[in-house]
């Protein structure tokens, strides 16, 4: 199903003034317009076939949103598998809350897919061969890695988002990823919800770069994600 995105509505030729009224975003809409204005109406935008694999495309908000979309695809696929084949010894509380997390990651993934519309990268094929889904420690260690990775990725990319509406939405998502991370960490090791392996000396989360995050994410993907314009190819 093709979902018409906000960006496409602009491409479709809605006048600037009525677009802003539609978006209800005031100045925030200008950023979307600016992005749309310098982008060709190409359904394959963001998927650079010349460079091999999947590429986030030219620097800009589309690339950052696709970066987030890639990570959310990975998380959603992971928790879908976790819930479908729940590990041995899961408590009812763990089953309930891990199912919640699955649904949150699905919401994030579907949100980016809808917001990006035709600018979205393709569906990624995960490779969870390294995970033993019947083993609690293996599942939760992977979950912790994904959640901390997500937090460091959003925090590290926030300053690159040009549009205030999408910066705020990234903020709405990253704090939920941090809540997940805290919960999973406490399952693995009670009290480790915000420990010194992930925080600096000022009690602040450490950021990760796009190349750093993708290098880790790609170890869980059959189809590798590149970010050529951000200095990373798998």
């Amino acid at each position: 199903m093709e979902t018409e995105s906000l960006l496409e509505k602009q491409d479709a030729g809605i006048g600037r003034r009525s677009f802003l009224r539609y978006a209800g975003a005031g100045l925030a809409g200008v950023g979307i317009l600016a992005v749309g204005a310098c982008t060709k109406d190409d359904p394959n935008e963001g998927i650079n076939t010349n460079r091999g694999g999947i590429d986030l495309g030219a620097k800009g908000d589309f690339a950052i949103l696709n970066y987030a979309y890639a990570l959310e695809q990975l998380e959603a696929a992971f928790y879908t598998q976790v819930v479908a084949t729940m590990y041995t010894g899961a408590t009812s509380d763990e089953i309930a809350l891990l199912t919640d997390i699955r649904d949150h990651e699905l919401a994030h993934r579907e949100f980016f897919k809808a917001a990006l519309g035709s600018k979205a990268i393709q569906a990624l094929t995960p490779d969870f061969g390294a995970v033993n889904f019947s083993n609690r420690a293996s599942v939760l260690a992977t979950a912790q890695a994904f959640e901390d990775l997500g937090v460091s990725a959003y925090n590290g990319a926030g300053f690159q988002i040009q549009d205030a509406t999408y910066l705020t939405i990234a903020g709405k998502i990253v704090s939920v990823e941090a809540r997940h991370a805290a919960y999973i960490r406490n399952l693995v090791n009670p009290g480790s919800f915000a420990d010194s392996t992930i925080l600096d000396g000022f009690g602040m989360d450490k950021v990760n770069t796009i190349p750093g995050v993708l290098a880790t994410a790609n170890t869980f993907l059959k189809t590798k994600v590149n970010a050529y314009d951000y200095g990373y190819t798998a």
Binding site: D103, H104, A107, K172, R179, F193, G203, D205
Partner: protein, 279 residues
Amino acid sequence: MNLYSIIEEIEKVDPEFQDRVNPRRAAIKNITSFGSKVAVAAMPFVFSTLFKKAYGQTAPVSVADVLNYALKLEYLEAAFYNQGATSSLGFSSSERSYVNTIRGHENAHVTFLRNTLGSAAVAQSTQGTAGVYDFTAGGTFPTVFTSVDTFFAVAQALEDTGVRAYKGQAPNLMKDAVALTAALNIHSVEARHAAAVRQIRRTRGASGTKPWITGANDTGISAVNANYAGEDNVMQGPVTITSLAGVGGNISTNAATASFDEPLTMAQVLPLVTPFGVK
């Protein structure tokens, strides 16, 4: 007071300031010639007039203003945990460990923000009554330091509100990548705290409380309804989350609200923390 240096400072925040005031900069000329004839004391009035002309209402929030706002909230949180940790509250050993971990972070956030702001930092002594807060919030939480349940209920409201407050300021920090990234790195730690405190409450018997916020106020405490106002939003940018595919149907309203934390503006947060003594 040097008018030109003030305008330079404003332009660091808003490069288009002069154009906003007047494309031909006539207003600036007017104000400088006017300024030479008026007392320095009259300048704030002149500037407020200038800002109204430039922005239609008030000045954009400066980075320093945002960081001082964050500092005031961190002062509050640090004092709350400092007092809780040294109170006679009967924490379990794991609860005490959680409180001490969070306490350490909140005090570290204060240090970071004070270091960053330097001489522009608001002094803690300006808050509450000579630096002392009223954590009962004017009698709303009379047992905050005598009941562990009340303590964690207040802790949860403070953490969840802190997450919302930082989130609300992200757009105001877009012009300063370093400040934005720092704020985001604190923001996510506040969310980790919020989740941990919520887990403590869940373990203590608040079985409806999850590490994430479901719907609006899910705390069971009506006194903090305003702290959670708008958390039940299901519309993100142009996308209605409940219209998206989930498992066995669309994404549920619960999942749609829990998967996105909502921001609060400064104007929304201040009335929530004023009863504690934040100024």
